[in-house]
């Protein structure tokens, strides 16, 4: 299986505080990799280093390499904006743009980058909304504001928006944390569908979710990668005692 992303000796800092210590990990394509760990262990920082969002916060530093299809995304000749188009992200709280309609929200990544051909956009918007299982619910109100939908629908809108720019990798940062169980189930189903075409990384607090949805699981603790293995083994026979203590609820 192809390695879409290879992380080598990744270190990340907030000012003087080191948030990630020497992370080495491979993310495979067409697979879902879950990142679990207690609060503050560096999971969100990690995925923000993958799509170069970490550096947007002032006073931060990143060292090490993140190879996307073999090329380091942090090398000097790489444009972070290009990277963020190839590596999409869905956030914890759904964040559709309130000033844009549903249609424009989905098309935002394209329209705001100069792609304006109407027939192209129509097609892309419809296929993205179909892929995120939202088309039937919104096809008659594409002009309504992006925030006129329910929480679960808003999150699917954000997913459609991320899909519209045709990324290679999709990062999910606790995507169901603010959703009800039914919306959560819908999004989990969606992720299982999406993995047929994308490499997916999902950060989650919910271990049962990680167990349900992912093929590989990485356990982070205090900025370090403690264990990385296929999900089945992590949850039935973890190798590291710390991993076992976390997943059995003895701490965290």
């Amino acid at each position: 299986m192809e390695e879409t992303i290879k992380v080598l000796n990744l270190n990340a800092y907030f000012g003087n505080v080191q948030a990630l210590k020497d992370i080495n990990i491979s993310i495979k394509e067409k697979m879902v990799t879950a990142i679990i760990g207690p609060s503050g262990c560096g999971k969100s920082t990690f995925i923000r280093c993958i799509n170069r969002l970490h550096e947007v916060v002032p006073n931060t530093k990143v060292s090490g390499e993140v190879l996307l299809d073999g090329k380091d995304i942090y090398s000097a000749d790489v444009d972070p904006i290009e990277i963020r188009r190839k590596i999409g992200m869905v956030f914890q709280r759904p964040n559709p743009f309130p000033v844009l309609s549903i249609y424009d929200n989905v098309a935002a990544g394209l329209k705001l980058n100069g792609i304006k051909r109407k027939d192209n956009l129509d097609e892309i918007v419809e296929s993205s909304l179909r892929m995120s299982a939202l088309w039937d619910e919104v096809k008659d109100k594409l002009d309504a504001s992006g925030v006129s939908l329910s929480g679960g629908q808003q999150q699917r809108l954000c997913i459609a928006r991320a899909l519209a720019v045709k990324p290679e990798v999709i990062l999910f940062d606790e995507p169901c944390a603010s959703l009800d169980p039914i919306s959560t189930a819908k999004i989990e189903e969606l992720i299982l569908e999406l993995k047929n075409d994308y490499a997916i990384i999902i950060v989650t607090h919910n271990m049962q979710q990680a167990a349900r949805v992912s093929d590989f699981t990485a356990f982070f603790l205090m900025g370090e990668l403690i264990e990385f293995d296929n999900t089945q083994d992590i949850f039935t026979k973890p190798k590291d005692k710390k991993t076992e203590a976390y997943i059995t609820g003895r701490f965290g």
Binding site: M207, F235, T236, K237, I247, T248, G249, R250, F251
Partner: protein, 224 residues
Amino acid sequence: MERHLDQELADLKKELIMMGSLVETAIFESIEALKQLDRERADKVISDDKIIDELENTIDEKCLELLALQQPMAVDLRFITMEMKISTDLERMADLAVDIAQRVLELADKPLLKPLIDIPKLAIIAQEMTKGAIESFFNLDVALAGKLILRDKEADALRNLVQQELLDDYISKNKKTIPRAIPLLLIARHLERICDHATNICEDVIYMIQAKVVKHHPEKLQEI
């Protein structure tokens, strides 16, 4: 961090140990009943089986509840699922003790066909394996479990011996011995089956502790 689940798991363990000791007793009593040709003892084994059956139900229900409500992972998950399997094996072993008791009832009004030599030996192996299996569960003793698995061969050999002797020396020579020979043959079979179940328990214990599957893979025993 002490968890509510830890208390539940400790209680489950106690129940299984208790079930185990009841099964040990049942096997012992059934063999004593055979040695003494004691109808009363045999009847008691049969009637006491109900308690063991109930225990299996209780344990299974409790395990299912914990699986549904607590979503246990890793070692806890292995513990609970193996506990369910071990309780099934114990219940079968108790049923086999009942079978032995029923054979005793069939033999009780006649004199013994021959002095019992090999059957008691087989019975001792069965009892030791049963006791050992439960001990390995209680003490989380992988080494003991491994040793016991290897003893199963002995039991198989003894059963074959008894079978051979009864077939060759009695059944084939004199049809009139059949009503007294068959029950003895069956008792040997029952005892050997008890050893098989004890072996299952040991394999489950190894999986529970080390997450290694040695069931149906005797070669893996070297690795534990």
